[in-house]
Every structure is written in structure tokens, then in C-alpha cells.
Subunit: 200 residues, 2 copies
Amino acid sequence: MKYSPHIDALIEQLQILPGVGPRSAQRMAFSLLQAERASGQKLATRIESAMTHVGHCSVCRNYAEGELCGICSNPKRQVSEQICVVESPADVAAIESTAQFKGRYFVLMGHLSPLDGLGPKEIGLDKLETMLKSQAVSELILATNPTVEGEATAFYIADIAKDLAIKVSRIAHGVPLGGELDSVDGTTLSHSFIGRQSVD
Amino acid sequence: MKYSPHIDALIEQLQILPGVGPRSAQRMAFSLLQAERASGQKLATRIESAMTHVGHCSVCRNYAEGELCGICSNPKRQVSEQICVVESPADVAAIESTAQFKGRYFVLMGHLSPLDGLGPKEIGLDKLETMLKSQAVSELILATNPTVEGEATAFYIADIAKDLAIKVSRIAHGVPLGGELDSVDGTTLSHSFIGRQSVD
Ligand SMILES: [Zn+2]
Ligand SMILES: [Zn+2]
């Protein structure tokens, strides 16, 4: 025992949070104890509520608090024939914040990773395939991450869509706007060349 | 609403934790949702328990789950006539881990900071003075931080103890072991000179 049973237990469990080691867990525990207790109690309640009430949308697999997520329950989005495939709910939020896309999403909640036991079924590709076969889909936009796993996942999904004669596209990768050429890694820069577009 | 009501509320409240901004709060929320729900529920329970059961030791002001902390309830420590004054429970743990000190502590839970409304009473100095007057104390060791506020607090407490003719000492400050002279700031280095000890 380092402090007292409840403090030690709290410090231990705070370390399930990403990026939190023993030292920052200790700092967090003391900060919670030193502030108004009501504020820490509110945090406990909100964690508990999220754990209990947040599930997955039955259509797109995004986080949802009922049967459907906010996007899938929107009649304007329901009629869209564009589906954008992303790895995570955070990606949905990032794309929504651009206000560029008015279609629907399909959230893989990960990417293909056979070594971790994540095959096509684990990332919902059976469900996606059923959707592509049974609904009118004019374009499937692949917005998985530009990582080895994200690219492999995109290729796998592209094959499914092509077999069903559905148009597939991949979001563009390249030098970020405002970025400088010499601060971008070589792989990104070569993607940026391969994906060059005519300016005339 | 960015995600869903419960997720947004969780992301907001996670930001009461020190060093946690919107982006890391979001990452933490998603990590909790993606892992086993039981693990997040356990975190909620442990926060709630700590908020409810952790109070302050009636003797030394350290965190405690009953009337007395683990140190003050230890008969061997109770008879010690040395009291070490520190700013925080984390300082107690740091000193305990050195196994150098077998006396008692007094935890200020802060330092004098008039601008923040922290005067002698707020950091428990009335209680400390009563203790010094009513108990046998052979030495008061001041282990507040070597910051402007910590030094000012140490001076203030030293005055109280001197009025009561109690021996007062201050922990040594200087170049950390394993540190290099030229990587230590000037104030530390001058402390290190002022506090030099004869080696004969
Ligand atoms: Zn949905
Ligand atoms: Zn105590």
C-alpha cells in the first residue's frame, strides 16, 4: 500500500486510460481528491452512464445510444446513395466537421488485422456486403487511414464493391494544406506525386 | 452535439483531469468505450469510492480513510518526536519511499499563497502550532518545495517553531545526485554552494 486502499485502487484503475502511467495516474487521483468532490463524482457518473447507454448503430456500426445513430436516423441522409467507410467514430466526427459529405457512413471499428484476430467479419464486412447488395449505392468512398493496415482494408473492400459493380473511390492523400514539402515523409510525398491532378 | 449526448458529456467531464484537453479526452472516451465495458465501470466505481471514502487524517491532515492515516495510527511512529512538514500527500509518499525518516508528518495540503486566499489557517498552521505546544517535539523538519512559495512557507513555520524554542531544520537543496553542474539552474547551484558541508 502506497497511500490508502481507495487511493491506490483509483491510481491503479486510472492507468487503463490511454497515455496514463503511474505518475500521471497519481497526479490525476490527487487532483480529483483536492478539487470539489462533486466534480469527481460527476466524472464517475458520466463514465458509468456512457458504459451503460452507448451501444452501436444497427445500420452503420457507429456509436449510438439507441437503435440508430444521429446520422442514420436523419431522413435526408437515409436517402443518400453514397456510403463513406471509415475506421472509427472519431473519423466520422472529423469528416462531419468538414461539412463536405452529406451521405451515410459505415464504421469498421478497426481495420483488418489477422494477427490480432480481426478478420472481415470482426470489422463488419458481412454487414457492409449485405448493405451493398440490398440497397441502392452509387458510390462507396474508402476513407480508412493511410497506414499499411488501412490501405489493405481499403483494397479488400474495394474488391467486394467491384464484384458488385459499385463505383469505389479512395480519399486523396498528399501534402497537408499549410504543410511544407520538406517536413512531409517520403511515402506521403510519393502518394502526392502519384495522385497529382491536371491544373488546366 | 458532436458524437452522442452521453459521449459528449463524458468527453467534457474527463477534461477536469490535469493535463487532459479536448483531444485526449476524446481519445480516452473512445478507449473506454472500445475496451471491455466492465473495465470502465470499475474506473467509475473506484472514482466514486475514493470521492466518498477518502478524507483527511485528524492529526496530520494527510489523506486518510478513517480518523487517522496509516502513519499516525502506527504506534512506533506515534512516539516519534520528529515531525516533517510537507506540502502534499505525494511528498509523504516520496519521503517514505526513501525509508530515511521514521517520524511523523504534517501535511499542509498546499503552501502559503495570500493572493489565492491561502493563509496560515488554510494550510493548517493553527493545528500545527497546537501540536508543537502540546506534544514533545524534538525537531521540526521543513520539507516544503524549494519554490518561492515553499520557501516563504518554510520561513513562516520556522518562526513559529523558534518562538516555541523547538529545533527546526530544512532539507538540503542542491545539485541532484547523478546530475551535472552545468545542467542545473543557477538558483539551485547557489543553494548548493551556500549549503556546502565540510568534508574533513
Ligand atoms: Zn448509424
Ligand atoms: Zn496522519
